[in-house]
Symmetry: C2
Subunit: 158 residues, 2 copies
């Protein structure tokens, strides 16, 4: 089955572009990236710190099935509600380096929206290593959880 | 005359690498990037904010000969004294976008050191636009000022 999250990673580039359309108003889609409680649910991660503002930072932690903890963290360069988040992202204690992520939130209709992600890596090699992970499927599943979770939230608010 | 600051920008890449050797102990070179008072002198900029720490941020401002103010700002992803600074950098209100900068500070001898900068841009086009500015000369001159300024500071401490 075709995945709803589209990834475009050209050969020999140290970047990729990711898009996903949601049956959600852009304000709700944005919330999924800005509010700790929602991030914990769709990312399946513990939010140790999240300062959702320009010049803020964040620290997440997941526990794998073996009980090992994995940290994810970064700084927030730009934060424009319902429009844009520019941040760094690092999987701590891995060789993947630091990436720069530009997330644009786009209103399509009153009830639909799109996220456009532009992710820039330290090198072509590091990007290609990340592509070797079950990356596309994982991201698509995470985005499916955003759709589910926020649809419920939307319904409960009616 | 050959410039001491070396810039390596391969064609069709969205990154560049910059190196410069200094007749300075690495601890003094690092200070030039970590202390507001020194940055103001060698960059010729006003430091409005500088939190020199992991997950900190900064805001600089210069005034050009016509009296126009230009802002530079970003967030600090990593900060390891005398070793490494990873940060974002943006020239505000310009089309150059946000760049990711990895600064490595390397001890060569007790009295000499090198900075290795890896700068990653949003696109090849944006990098190439920045290369059109009097960028190499400007950076070389700024680095010359670090050498002068810190040499004096070193002499005054003896």
């Amino acid at each position: 089955m075709e995945q709803k999250t589209k990834i475009n990673a050209e050969n020999n580039k140290q970047e990729m572009r990711i898009t996903r359309e949601f049956e959600l108003p852009v304000e709700l889609l944005f919330k999924a990236y800005a509010e700790a409680e929602l991030i914990e649910q769709w990312m399946g991660t513990k939010v140790l710190k999240l300062e959702s503002k320009k010049h803020g930072s964040y620290q997440f932690e997941t526990t794998d099935p073996k009980g090992n903890k994995h940290g994810f963290s970064g700084v927030i360069h730009e934060f424009i509600p319902n429009k844009k988040i520019i941040r760094t992202f690092e999987m701590e204690n891995t060789p993947f380096g630091v990436q720069l992520e530009i997330h644009e939130f786009e209103k399509l209709t009153d009830d639909t929206s799109r996220i456009n992600m532009h992710v820039i890596y330290e090198s072509i090699e590091k990007r290609d290593q990340i592509m070797q992970l079950p990356f596309a499927q994982g991201l698509n599943m995470a985005h499916n959880r955003i759709q589910e979770l926020l649809s419920k939230l939307k319904a409960s608010q009616k």
